[in-house]
């Protein structure tokens, strides 16, 4: 089982069952508040449930941070079409590995969250879209789903409440873009992961063109606690505009990387020094990718901030998906920027011109700069081309590629200049080619 021993600085709500014997089993779940929230929710009206979620200030944990209660309230409940629940377990944002531990250690918490959402919009079917690489998690989820069916927590007339719900897993097949909600829905329907034109948003026209609640795994996992203990209690844990805890995936140059549950507003330096056990080898902090590779990077001196939506926005970056990558002084920023661009270029769906061509051009340009070939103008061009993508692409993947690139070039331009000045013999080798046409 993949989890960290509890750390005193953590506030454990979603992860509180981690480490219990057979934590993934229904028995353990039931013995520890399991499905109580759902049963409670069956006695509530949809409005009451949505209100609790709104009060909790739960914001989406997939990256965009949209208030979950508000999103749920957008679903046209009077629509005659069937309604669906879709769980985004595509977890592909570099630096992010939290949905994985949630599903591995406590799958029933996710199922319960889904059931409550289903109750809200009177949905009777849902899918958990899990990235293809997480095959073992699909097996874990399938087992948990089977267990739930067997014990009457899924299927017809759940625990005598008269509520029906069918749930299944659905595997992805290797595409970051399928984490984007509308591309995910296309993929769910058996198509290429090309995002949809929006509006309409999934709440109105989602899976199979029907009203759909689509949230991240962690978002759903927060729901049972919110319903069981009240939205206010959850809200109180966080900061005024963002309630509760979130899972922080710490990685990079720190001593104790891992997935930790922290209240919103937790100071970044404490995360590095306490949860992360300080910098690896006692080296100096250079920069932090605060919430997955698509977030603008922070320089060491900018890291003295609290991790909540507003503070991050003020620092011109984002909380993102909770993937916090810590970089020490030895990090080669040119190589780092290239690696990020290689990722987005590889994952660009190719639908729109600026992303498709922009990522490719930038990848080529950065590859060349990383080899020490080019001029100062080329460095400016990286900044400019990324700027030319920003805000103009069909979906946010283009922005996700542009934002970190812009911040790295702006904040570490000297490293790019130095690379060009280095004698040829010490140039970096060209990185292996990731692009496959097969």
């Amino acid at each position: 089982m993949l989890y960290n021993p509890p750390h005193p600085a953590e506030t454990k709500i979603l992860t509180r069952r981690f480490g219990l014997p057979n934590s993934e089993s229904l028995d353990t779940y039931l013995a520890n508040d399991g499905y109580k929230a759902f049963l409670k929710a069956t006695g509530m009206t949809s409005e009451q449930i949505v209100d609790e979620v709104k009060i909790s200030n739960l914001r989406g944990r997939g990256g965009a941070g949209f208030p979950a209660g508000m999103k749920w309230s957008f679903v046209p409940r009077q629509s005659p079409k069937p309604k669906y629940i879709v769980v985004n377990a595509d977890e592909s944002e570099p630096g992010t590995c939290k949905d994985r531990v949630l599903m591995e250690n406590d799958p029933h918490q996710l199922i319960e969250g889904v059931l409550i959402a289903g109750k809200v919009i009177d949905a009777h079917r849902g899918w958990i879209y899990i990235r293809g690489e997480y095959r073992y998690l699909i097996d874990i989820m399938d087992r948990a789903i089977d267990e739930a069916y067997k014990n009457g927590y899924l299927g017809r007339n759940i625990r005598g409440t008269g509520f029906d719900f069918e749930l299944s897993t659905h595997t992805g097949a290797g595409a970051y873009e399928c984490g984007e909600e509308s591309a995910l829905l296309e993929s769910l329907e058996g198509k290429r992961g090309i995002p949809r034109i929006r509006p309409p948003f999934p709440a109105v026209s989602g899976a199979f063109q029907c009203p759909t609640i689509l949230n991240n795994v962690e978002t759903f996992c927060a729901v049972p606690s919110i319903i069981l203990h009240g939205g206010q209690k959850f809200a109180d844990v966080g900061v005024p505009k963002a309630g509760g805890t979130r899972l922080l995936c710490l990685s990079g140059h720190i001593n104790t990387p891992g997935v930790y549950e922290i209240p919103l507003g937790f100071p970044m330096m404490r995360a590095i020094n306490e949860l992360g056990g300080g910098m690896l080898g006692g080296r100096k902090l250079k920069a932090v990718v605060p919430g997955g590779s698509s977030c603008p990077i922070l320089k060491a001196e900018e890291c003295d901030i609290n991790m909540d939506y507003d503070s991050m926005a003020k620092a011109k970056t984002m909380l993102g998906s909770g993937g916090m990558v810590v970089l020490d002084e030895t990090t080669d920023m040119v190589q780092f920027a290239l690696r990020i661009m290689r990722f987005y270029q590889h994952e660009s769906c190719g639908w729109c011109i600026p992303c498709r061509e922009g990522t490719l051009w930038l990848r080529k340009l950065l590859t060349r700069l990383n080899q020490g070939i080019g001029t100062s103008d080329d460095i400016s061009m990286v900044r400019e081309l990324a700027g030319n993508m920003l805000g103009r692409t069909f979906c946010p993947l283009g922005d996700a590629a542009a934002m970190p690139t812009i911040s790295i070039v702006e904040k570490f331009r000297d490293e790019f200049e130095a690379r060009l000045a280095r004698p040829a013999s010490s140039r970096m080798p060209a990185p292996g080619d990731l692009v496959s046409i097969a």
Binding site: G350, W351, E357, W361, R392, F394
Partner: protein, 692 residues
């Protein structure tokens, strides 16, 4: 109607119905918003990002191609931010686009070229290596050069949405995304070339046209396709008396952007090596080249002597010659040769329909009606195979207006895929299926009934009775085969009908009767092949044939005159809906003459005076004397289609004319099809198209 939405575009007040896209609203006031992927009538993509515009209060630029007009919206399509975004987009696009414009077929007609010319990004900062993929040939007519492709997905959409063929898709991802054909390495499709036509750049090119010429070196002649009865306008690209391509360049015809393989590529029979270029006269049993004057003199003398001896002269006219030719021919036969024996191969019971509609007005459908009717009933016809443009119209109506289509057919047809209901009926039992459809049809409010040769004679009357019984406005469309099948009948190439469906004073023989008549003294066949499968009973008959090729009928001829094709003459033709359109001569072929000229020369040799022999003058005669043809000359002169309004009254039908469709497919076209290499090359398994 809901209230129009008021908005401002570039300071100009604009009104548009709710639901209008900003890109379309802008067009109404003459503001062009550039776009590659947006294409009116096809689904929205918002992929090219060329149409980004500034909208007041929006945090970023928005795509005008998916943005609906909103009350009070303030749009700027030329703000500095928009102008820069456009230029940047072109720069991105060009970064991976080969700059081989000088050798690209599309050079001079390329939307990307135009866009760069207009919006800049002329010089490139891109110095990296471009991706390269080799050009591929997908079919005899379709070539694909991936690097030139800008991924606007127009081709994929026109094939899927427009044609319903779904032969193109996209594979790979990101910068490696590539349009891909349905059979992995090759295409199996209608080969209509719509994908090539709609491609804004030179990624899809035609196997016929590629590397032949530069667009500005051709003369573009808008004329009417000579193949099926739908009457599509096709623009011939002609250089040095050679047709290099056919397309629908200005989309001005009734067919808009549509052309099938025949209209687009099926012109190559024109310079087939077996094309007749000199008159042939049978000498000692063998056909030998002869001069025009000797051949004409021979025929004139023969006709004159047979006529004065009271011998029977049978004449078979053509379904592809012009109205003027047909009108003149029937005059020639009836007034000059004093023979009532004139006919042509009949493929649909138009006369029966007109008769049954006697007393009804506005009951004949125009092609446009197929696109606007609330519901359609297609009975006994395989439209996708035999009337590709009509099929396209019906499909577009369904796509754009959610019209309902009902099909009664004896086998699977393409329309099944979207039809509200399909009834399978064994041949001959089609009419029995109608009763069960009445309620649904009535509910639709109005209806167009399209029928093929399965409905003829008495069945036509029953069909009209059925339509009248619905109590809603119903229009009818009787399908006929070729480019002027309809005109042939309108012009009186029938033993019982004079031009305009007036009764003939004396009923002559039908084609079948002529062929079976042992006493037939002469048979004159113009642009038809009645002896393809039937022998001529009269062994002594003197046979004269006007044709492009040495057909089975021509092989039996005593004299053959090499005739010009529709692409080599002026005149008018009438499509299956009864719409007249003008042919424009695209080129001349050495040795061959338009049938009208041959008639006129023959008349001169026989010292007959049959009136004017120039197409324009004859059309004036037709306008004045043929019921329904009094159409506005301006419409024709400007390349439009004028709906004729034939007799409203009983149409006598004394002769039992055999009516049978030629059962051509998308890839055949009677004799012409046999001499089109391109049609022969792409032949698909019959019916295979429906299996998807």
């Amino acid at each position: 109607m809901s209230n129009p939405v008021n908005l401002t575009i570039n300071g100009q007040p604009v009104q548009a119905p709710p639901g209008t896209l900003v890109i379309d609203a802008a067009k109404t006031v003459g503001i062009q918003i550039p776009a590659f992927c947006y294409y009116q009538g096809l689904s929205l993509q918002a992929a090219c990002r060329m149409c980004l515009v500034d909208v007041e209060k929006a945090p970023k630029l928005l795509a005008a191609c998916t943005l609906l007009v909103g009350e009070g919206m303030v749009v700027n399509t030329e703000s500095p931010a928009v102008v820069k975004a456009r230029k940047d987009m072109l720069e991105f696009l060009l970064s991976n686009h080969p700059l081989d414009c000088p050798v690209c077929d599309k050079g001079g007609e390329c939307e990307l070229q135009d866009m760069v010319f207009r919006y800049g990004a002329g010089e490139s900062r891109f110095t990296e290596v471009k991706l390269h993929v080799d050009e591929k040939q997908w079919s005899p007519v379709v070539f694909f050069d991936a690097p030139r492709c800008i991924l606007c997905y127009r081709c994929v959409r026109i094939c899927d949405e427009g044609l319903g063929v779904k032969a193109l898709g996209i594979t790979n991802r990101g910068a490696y995304s590539e349009i891909t054909p349905n059979m992995g390495t090759h295409l199996e499709c209608d080969e209509c070339g719509s994908c090539i036509d709609i491609c804004p750049v030179g990624a899809l090119t035609s196997g016929i046209y590629r590397y032949q010429t530069r667009p500005w070196e051709m003369e573009h002649v808008g004329t009417i396709c000579t193949h099926c009865g739908d009457g599509c306008k096709t623009t011939l690209g002609v250089r040095n008396s050679e047709i290099i391509r056919g397309n629908n360049r200005d989309r001005s015809g009734i067919n808009g952007e549509f052309l099938c393989i025949k209209g687009r590529y099926g012109f190559d029979f024109v310079n087939h090596q077996e094309r007749l270029q000199s008159p042939l006269v049978r000498v000692d049993g063998k056909l030998e080249e002869a001069s025009w004057s000797s051949a004409l003199a021979l025929v004139a003398a023969k006709f004159s002597s047979i006529e004065s001896a009271g011998g029977k002269i049978g004449v078979v006219g053509s379904s592809r010659t012009t109205n003027e030719e047909n009108f003149y021919l029937q005059k020639f036969v009836r007034q000059g040769l004093h023979s009532p024996h004139i006919d042509h191969r009949r493929s649909g019971d138009v006369a029966g329909l007109l008769d049954a509609l006697s007393g009804k007005t506005g009951a004949l459908a125009a092609t446009a009606d197929l696109y606007t009717a609330n519901s359609l009933l297609v009975i006994g016809a395989d439209l996708a195979q035999q009337h590709p443009f009509l099929a396209f119209q019906i499909r577009a109506n369904w796509r754009h207006h959610q019209s309902r289509t009902y099909v009664v057919a004896s086998g699977p047809v393409r329309e099944d895929s979207f039809a509200t209901r399909t009834v399978q009926a064994a041949p001959g039992t089609e009419m029995d299926a109608l009763a069960g459809l009445a309620d649904s049809l009535r509910a639709a409010g109005n209806l167009v009934i399209v029928f093929g040769d399965a409905v003829q004679g008495d069945a036509v009357r029953r069909l009209v009775d059925f339509g009248s019984g619905l109590g809603i406005p119903v229009k009818y469309l009787c399908l006929v085969d070729y480019s002027n099948s309809r005109g042939a009948l309108d012009m009186g190439l029938a033993p019982d009908l004079l031009p305009g469906y007036r009764p003939a004073p004396e009923t002559g023989m039908t084609v079948a009767q002529m062929l079976a008549d042992k006493d037939l003294a002469a048979l004159w066949v113009v642009g038809a092949n009645p002896l393809e499968k039937t022998a001529l009973a009269s062994s002594s008959a003197f046979v004269v044939v006007q044709d492009l090729f040495l057909t089975e009928t021509a092989q039996r001829a005593d004299v053959i005159f090499p005739a010009a094709s529709a692409y080599e003459k002026n005149g008018t033709v009438t499509n299956t809906c009864g719409e007249v359109q003008r042919l424009q001569k695209g080129l001349g072929v050495m040795g061959a003459k338009p049938d009208l000229d041959i008639f006129a020369l023959l008349a001169r040799h026989m010292r007959l005076n049959l009136g004017a022999t120039q197409p324009d003058k004859i059309f004036e005669e037709i306008r004045a004397s043929v019921s329904g043809y009094n159409v506005a000359p301006m419409v024709l002169a400007t390349g439009g289609a004028a709906l004729t309004n034939p007799v409203n009254g009983r149409v006598p039908q004394s002769a039992a004319a055999a009516i049978a469709s030629s059962r051509d497919t998308l890839f055949t076209s009677g004799t012409l099809g046999r001499y089109s290499k391109i049609l022969g090359n792409v032949m698909e398994a019959p019916g295979g198209l429906y299996q998807r």
